[in-house]
């Protein structure tokens, strides 16, 4: 009995580091795509096997035409602030050009923190062995083709194929 208890305690103490992460990006705003990219790149840097699956509006993050011009929402975003910290009036956020300007500013600030543009971020992930996939259903829905997507995209796969990539008992699926 006693040895059993000791063994039990040992088991709890033993660390079981994460071996694989599968990250799903389904939204196309600047912050959603970057959350995915930072988490994916961070995992690759830690030596964790990494698969990233872009679906629905998240496809904007790997579509050549859009990936380096992502926007952050200036309306319906209660966390949006003016430079200096004052609340950002929703009415102002709706004016033409405001979202573009604010998003450009955000990208500039991110650049100052050495956060790369999306195309380069994807290259960093694949350079370390991370894999980037596009969702077949969403690609068909948006009438895209493989050539419209970043060259870092490995392939267009179904959700079933994605789940097959998520095997292993130290694997986590993250939905950003």
């Amino acid at each position: 009995m006693e040895t059993k208890e000791i063994e039990k305690k040992k088991e709890i103490k033993e660390k079981k580091p994460l071996e694989k992460v599968c990250i799903i990006c389904a939204k196309g705003s600047l912050e959603d795509v970057y959350a995915t990219l930072v988490m994916a790149n961070g995992a690759v840097m830690e030596g964790i096997e990494t698969n990233v699956f872009f679906t629905f509006f998240g496809l904007d993050g790997i579509t050549k035409k859009t990936m380096n011009h992502l926007h952050t929402a200036t309306t319906g975003n209660p966390a949006m602030r003016m430079p200096g910290g004052l609340p950002f009036p929703t009415m102002l956020g709706g004016l033409p050009g405001v979202e573009t300007a604010v998003s450009g500013m955000m990208r500039k600030q991110m650049g100052e923190l050495d956060m790369p543009p999306v195309d380069e971020f994807l290259e960093m992930i694949t350079a370390g062995g991370g894999m980037i996939y596009a969702c077949k259903l969403a690609v068909d829905m948006f009438k895209l083709e493989k050539k419209d997507l970043s060259d870092e995209v490995d392939s267009i796969i179904t959700i079933g194929e994605f789940y097959e990539l998520c095997d292993g008992d130290r694997t986590q699926i993250i939905f950003t």
Partner: protein, 103 residues
């Protein structure tokens, strides 16, 4: 913090094995830490290590992006030299603190 003997020298290391004082570092220490990790150091490794030490001395925060743009090695090459820990392992071997950057 604890004291550890690496390559015949007593050095202060953090819990995770990073040197606390980068001036205690020498190439033999680098080689021993590297072999603990499972990396055999070549001249190319030392190019990266020296770059990391220079930048750290200058007080600059390191990211793999910065190393990739340094002209010393590209990011793919960095992963080849230090598999599964391009910044973590290289920093530990270079005798500099654990990187605090997320990129």
């Amino acid at each position: 913090m604890s004291v550890k003997t690496i390559a015949g020298l007593e050095v202060n290391v953090s819990e995770e094995g990073y040197l606390e004082d980068m001036s205690q570092w020498n190439e033999d220490i680098a080689k021993e830490i590297a072999s603990e990790i499972g990396i055999e150091l070549t001249d190319k490794h030392f190019d990266v290590i020296n770059y990391l030490r220079e930048k750290t001395e200058a007080g600059e925060a390191l990211t793999i992006r910065k190393v990739g743009k340094s002209g010393v090695v590209d990011i793919k090459g960095l992963y080849k030299l230090f598999p599964k820990g391009p910044l973590k392992f290289s920093s530990r071997i270079a005798g500099i603190p654990k990187p605090t950057s997320c990129i």
